[in-house]
Every structure is written in C-alpha cells, then in structure tokens.
C-alpha cells in the first residue's frame, strides 16, 4: 500500500524538478532535498533472551514439579511418621491408663491402707459443719472390726499345723540375786512360745 503512494510522490517530484531546468546551486539543493529511499534498517534482535526465557520456564517447571513431587513425598513420609508416632503415643496412653486403673483398684488401695493401720469405720457418723453437731453414733474403728481383704488361707493338715506349744510360767517370788538368770530364762520361753505361732499363720 505504501509503495504506490511513494511512486506517485516521486513522480510528482520528478515532474516538478526536471533536470536541466534549474541552476547548479539549485540543482545541488534540489539534489540535497530529493528524498531517496533509505534501506530499512533491520535490527536483528538476539534470540538469546527468548530462548533463555523459554528454557527457564521449562526448567523451572520441571524443577518445580520435581520439588513439588519431592515435597509431596516428604509430606507423605512425615504423615506416616507422625501417624506412627500418634499410634505409639495412643498405645502408650492406653497402657498408662491401664496401669493407673491397676493402681486405683480398690483392693490394692485397701490393702495398702490396712497395712498403714487404717480401718473402715463400722458405724457411719457425720459432723455437720454449720453448727458442729455430730450426727449418728460415732464409734472408734478398731482392729477387731477390720475387714478381711484376702481370702482365708486354706486349712493346713494337722501335721503341718501343730498346736502352739504353750508353756505356763508360774511366777516365782522375785529374788534379787537370781534376777538376771530369771530374765534370761523368761526370754527363752518367750521365743519358744512365739515360734510355733508364727509358723501356724492362721
């Protein structure tokens, strides 16, 4: 489209200034003023940035994908590890709870308490805090009304469970001279009496 216009324009110029009709100076000026077609300067841009960009995009895509994949794997591993950890902790919690239940088993608590000399009271009595009145008939909890917590040991045959060897000692009038020997003998007797009793375990 530009080329026909150019042609027309150059034609007109040619028609206006025909050679030979103007002076040399004018001719020179004319010559100077004459427009000529300048070859278009074609700047050859470098391919490098584009190639770099494309390969960067490609590379970063690949690397990104790789990293994404790796992080997914990593996350999966972490998830598995943490799940395992959760399972282990859960199992640990349950085991601890089991141990706790065993520790607060009433039988165990009662045995410990009884060993410390505690007795379950035989009669309930209450102290009203508002006026300090005692409700019920309080009675001392004694060893006699303690509860037997363990089953009674099976009865042993007579051979293994002889009757306690009881020696009755008739007190003699105290003799200051024989005091030492007396005490000594008494202690021996005590030992004799105690031994079968601890064997008997009834």
């Amino acid at each position: 489209m530009s080329s026909p216009a150019f042609q027309i324009r150059s034609g007109r110029i040619r028609a206006a200034g025909a050679p030979g009709r103007v002076s040399g100076l004018a001719g020179a000026a004319l010559h100077r003023a004459r427009l000529t077609v300048v070859p278009r300067t074609r700047t050859r841009t470098s391919h490098l940035p584009f190639v770099t960009l494309v390969s960067f995009v490609l590379l970063s895509g690949v690397v990104g994908l790789l990293m994404f994949n790796t992080s997914m794997q990593q996350a999966a591993f972490t998830a598995t590890t943490m799940e395992q950890q959760a399972a282990t902790l859960n199992a640990r919690e349950q085991t601890l709870r089991m141990e706790l239940d065993a520790l607060r088993d009433p039988q165990r608590v009662a045995l410990k308490a009884q060993r410390m000399g505690m007795v379950i009271p035989a009669t309930p009595a209450f102290l009203r805090l508002t006026d300090g009145e005692v409700l019920g008939t309080p009675a001392a909890a004694t060893r006699e009304n303690s509860l037997r917590l363990l089953p009674r040991a099976p009865q042993k045959p007579a051979v293994l469970d002889p009757a306690p060897n009881v020696v009755t000692v008739i007190g003699e009038p105290a003799d200051p001279g024989a005091g030492d020997a007396q005490r000594h003998r008494g202690r021996d007797r005590n030992k004799q009496q105690q031994e079968p009793r601890s064997d008997g375990n009834r």
Partner: protein, 604 residues
C-alpha cells in the same frame, strides 16, 4: 515403471525378482491372513477377558496396585456408675516369631523374651525352634507399646525374626470385682456376662482402607477408599465399683466364717431401683477366668440360683394383708405352740407355749404360726395376685443372661396347704433380685420400681431393651400399708424384742427381716436339712435410701438369718450410708407393741 519402455535386460531382471518374491496378490493375501490370525487371537483373548469372567480379572488388576489394611474397631468399655472401667480395651499386639530365623539363637532369645515379656522360658524356646514353620506365637495380648519396645530392643541386641501384629487386649482392672456380671472374653469371642449378652453393642464393626501403592510405597495422591471402623459403644452400668468391692469382701468374710457354700447380695437404690451392687461369692478373677474353682462361680448366683426365700417373704404376705384391710400392725394374734395345716404340722423356729403377739411381734419374732394364722384371712387367690405384683415368678430382665424366673405355684396347684407354707416363704422359689425388688417396694412406700443394672438403655443380643430408661413403677400396696410394715420391720433389729439385733446400725433407724429357709437338695428334691439364711432391710427406715439383701447358702456354723445375714447387712448398709453421705434422720424409732396380755383392752 510400466511407462518405461521394456528393456530385455530389465524384464529379465524383474522376472528374476518376481520369482524370488512371488506375486503381490499372494503376498497381500498372505499378509492379510497373518493379520487376521493375530487379530482373531486378540479377539479371542478379549472375549476371554471381558466375556468369561471380567470381575475376577478386574479384581486382580485392582489388587495389583492396591493395598488393603483392616481398621479394627475398638471394643466398647464396660463402666461403673462413676465412669470407672470394669472392663476396657487396650491397644495391644501379639509378638510373633519366624522360627526359621530364630532357631539359631533360640536359647539366648528365649532368655531375652522371658525376661521382658510375661512368658515361660521353655515354651518360648520350643516356639522359637519349631521345625518347618515360619510362624509361631510368642506372646499374645501385650500392650502395644510394650510389644514394640521389646521387638525393637531385640533387633538392637541382634536378634532377627520377631514381629508384632495387632491383637487388642481386654483388661479387667478391678479383677474379681463385678466379674460375675461383666463376664470375660475368650481368645476371639465373648464368653460370659455382659461381654456376651451385649456383644453386638460392645463389639462395633471393623472397617477397612484400600489405597494405591507403587513399589511398596503408598502413592500420595493415589486412589484411596476408607470404610471407617465403627467402634463399639460403652456400656454404662449402675454398679458402684467401690461399693461392689466392699460388698464382695464382706460376703467372702461372711461365707468363710459361716463355712457356707456361697453367698450373694444385692444393694438397690430405693427410689430409682438402680442396682448399686450385685455381688457373688465365691467368685473369680476376670483377668484369669481359669482361676475359677467351679463352673458355678462364673455366673451370677444372685440371678441364677433359685431358692426358697423363707421368712423374708413374711414382709410381703403381711403387708399385702394390711393393704387388703384384713389386719393392721397392732392386730392381736394368739400363737399356739404348733399349728395343723392339712396333713402337716407347722412349728416355729423356737419352741414356745401359747404366745400373745401383735402382728408386729409376729414379724419381730419371725413366727411362722402367727403369719399363717393371719394369712388365713386372705380371699382365695388374693395372696398370689399380690405376690405376682411384687414381681415374684417373673424375670426381672435386668440384662443378665440365664436369669431364673423363680417358681410361684400355678393357681391350679395352689391349695390352702400351699398357701400356708407360701405365707412364710416356703414352697415358692425366687432369685435374689426378685426378692430385693419386692422388699424395696415396702421401702419405696408401696410402689415397686423395676430394678435395672444398665444406665440409660441398651439392647441385649436377644433384642431385649433394658436399662433405667425402661424401668417401670407400679403401686403394689398402699402407702399406709408400707408404712405400717416399715414400723413392724424396725422391731426386728430391736435388741429387746427382735431376732436380729446384730443388723442394727447405731444411730440409724433400720428396718429389716431375717430369713432362714429349708433348702431343697438337688439329689432327692426334698428338704435336705440345709438352710438358706438371708437378711433384707432398708435404712433410714423413715426415709429409705438403700435396700440391701444378703443371702448365704448352707452355712455350717448353725447360724440363722439374724446371726449370719444380719452383721453382713449392717456392714454393707453402713458403708453405703457413709459412702453416699446419708446422715441419720434423728426421728424417734418405732415403739410398736409386739405382745399383748389377754384381757388387755386393744388400743386402736
């Protein structure tokens, strides 16, 4: 080619080539044939894959790249009324070995394992040396963390061939407490008690998870389907663990001291009918059911034993009589030394001349003759109707399998002689829960509350809905009759006029009744001169909170309901009162007259 003018040399050349390669038509046909054959093989294979059994191949293809993991459901816990576990599930594991790998270092490994797990050295050694096996159990039902720790430690110590697998542990932290109710689990199935009766509820449903795997690893965004496990539901009982423990210990002491066969007791919350304790002795350790000495120790005798209740039944007879308007607690009865009933003669437990007792005295002294004389005022069928409404002869349906119904004689065999004996508690049979609920009716002002062992509601495997939500109430006797009976029962524990002063709790008003019944022996089906002694009562008498019923079978120390059952009752009731913080009411105890003098004017 054809356009090129034929040259002799070329023609000769082409003919020579043609002879080598054959004609193109032939070649084409041959080619088609080969293609057709190959295609038909493909076709046949396609038909085989898709037509013959497509699902099996699809499944095989799916299985190739997927892994299925079973998600085990956790078994529900059995809890007491305060949420303490009677039975709970713990994540567990079994330790298994591959004998092919363990055989070499078997003795060392066995020593290692025997030290860390609760296993026998020699059995472990045998398992580790099994021939031609790649699998052997070392320990089962080990808490998971412990099993993992042992296997890891073994690997670190250089032992190969150990592994763990899922194996849930069922733990009974309280051991023998409520063992008869809770029951126990076998290796894989529920064997007794609640565990068995509510198995469907407790077990839940196992789930499964399937996911895509590649080279042994799970593919992160691969296909995965999860069918979640439905955990079993917890079973909330009305049992109070600590009270149950105490009752069991008291029962054991009572049974041992009386040299009795067995003993059982029920503790009821008077108003709600909730069973706070249902204890049996002898019992067993639920953690080790094989420790039970007899098979009968595994069940709840309180629910399965049928026995004749004896004099405790007089409470029901006489309160029914008062309700029917046939007597009051001051009605005067002339009690002869013996009474003829049909072809038999009824005696009292103590020999006496003619006594002049009020109805309260009849209860306080537990006179059979007085009860029979009074009960002869009933209309025909009236007593049976009352006893039915008290709940005798029908299952209590509290959720225990194998509960006995008891025996309340049919009207067709209900003679006046039968009625005479039933009036004082012989010739009819009950279970302990029925009797406790019947006595609780008096404590609850004449309204019977059906007892319940389960909080809320639960459905047994037989489809029976039980629990506090389904508890019913029914008025059996009037409030006035129940009140009069309570005043009469208070005289039983009176040290001057009653037969069971040992059941008294100092400071409290206690109402109770003893029972000493003849027992029917299994051998002859007749009374075999052994006894069932019992004590039922409630406290505080004017505002009852608990009903306690203690039964001791065949005591050999010659004791009766008052001397054997009474102290046990007092201990259990004292503990319950102090545990639940029930102070004495402080009102004046019953002073009902128990005797009268002939010629005295009745003061009504």
């Amino acid at each position: 080619m054809r356009r090129t003018p034929p040259r002799p040399s070329a023609r000769a050349q082409s003919r020579a080539r043609g002879s080598l390669r054959g004609s193109p038509h032939l070649r084409l046909r041959f080619g088609f044939l080969v293609i057709a054959m190959v295609l038909s093989v493909f076709g046949a294979r396609l038909v085989q894959l898709q037509g013959v059994d497509p699902h099996a191949y699809a499944a095989m293809a799916a299985a190739e790249g997927t892994d299925i993991v079973e998600l085990p459901a956790e078994r529900g816990d059995i809890l007491d009324r305060n949420g303490k576990p009677l039975a709970d599930s713990v994540d567990g594991a079994m330790v298994v070995a591959n004998p092919e790998l363990t055989r070499e270092k078997a003795p060392e490994l066995a020593k290692f394992l025997a030290g860390r797990l609760d296993v026998d050295y020699f059995e472990t050694l045998k398992a580790l040396r099994l021939k031609d096996k790649q699998f052997a159990y070392i320990a089962r039902r080990v808490p998971a963390s412990k099993a993992e720790a042992v296997v890891t430690a073994a690997e670190e110590a250089g032992f190969d061939g150990l592994d763990t697998r899922h194996d849930p542990v069922r733990d009974y932290p309280a051991g023998d407490v409520a063992a008869n109710l809770v029951g126990f689990m076998g290796t894989d199935e529920a064997l007794a008690g609640f565990e068995r009766n509510f198995n469907g509820l407790l077990a839940g449903h196992d789930g499964s998870e399937r996911y895509a795997v590649g080279v042994g690893n799970r593919i992160p965004l691969g296909q995965a389907t999860i069918e979640p496990a439905v955990d079993g539901q917890d079973l909330h009982t009305t049992i109070d663990l600590d009270l149950q423990w105490y009752v069991q210990r008291v029962l054991r002491q009572t049974r041992e001291d009386a040299r009795a066969d067995s003993a059982f007791a029920v503790v009821l919350d008077t108003q709600t009918g909730e069973v706070l304790a249902l204890a049996d002795d002898p019992t067993y350790d639920a953690r080790d059911p094989r420790s039970a000495k007899a098979k009968g120790d595994l069940v709840s005798r309180a629910m399965t034993d049928v026995y004749e209740p004896g004099s405790v039944e007089k409470v029901l007879t006489l309160s029914a009589l008062i309700d029917a308007g046939k007597a009051t607690n001051k009605t005067r009865v002339v009690v002869p030394s013996s009474l003829v009933s049909g072809d038999r003669v009824i005696h009292d437990w103590f020999s006496h001349d003619t006594l002049y007792m009020t109805l309260a005295g009849v209860i306080a002294q537990s006179s059979n003759i007085g009860t029979v004389l009074a009960s002869r005022n009933f209309e025909t069928g009236q007593l049976r109707e009352y006893l039915t409404r008290f709940g005798l002869g029908q299952k209590t349906n509290v959720g225990i399998a194998g509960e006995t119904q008891g025996i309340l004689p049919d009207p067709s065999i209900w003679t006046s002689m039968t009625q005479d004996r039933i009036a004082f508690g012989q010739s009819l049979s009950v279970n302990a829960m029925q009797m406790a609920a019947a006595v609780n009716t008096i404590a609850n002002g004449g309204v019977r509350v059906s007892p319940s062992l389960i909080r809320g509601a639960a459905v047994t495997d037989e489809g029976l809905e039980v629990g506090t939500d389904t508890a019913t109430t029914e008025r059996v006797v009037s409030k006035r009759a129940a009140h009069q009976m309570t005043l009469m029962m208070e005289r039983v524990v009176d040290p001057d006029v009653g037969v069971a002063p040992s059941a008294q709790i100092p400071g409290y008003r206690v109402a109770g009744k003893t029972g000493t019944a003849q027992r029917v022996g299994p051998a002859c089906g007749c009374y075999n001169n052994t006894f069932t002694v019992s004590f039922a009562g409630f406290a505080p008498a004017d505002e009852p909170r608990f009903t306690v019923y203690v039964v001791v079978q065949n005591p050999r120390n010659g004791g009766g309901g008052g001397s054997v059952g009474g102290p046990a009752f007092a201990k259990i009731m004292s503990y319950a009162l102090s545990r639940y913080g029930v102070p004495p009411t402080g009102s004046a105890p019953s002073r009902l007259p128990t005797t009268w003098r002939p010629g005295q004017v009745a003061s009504r």
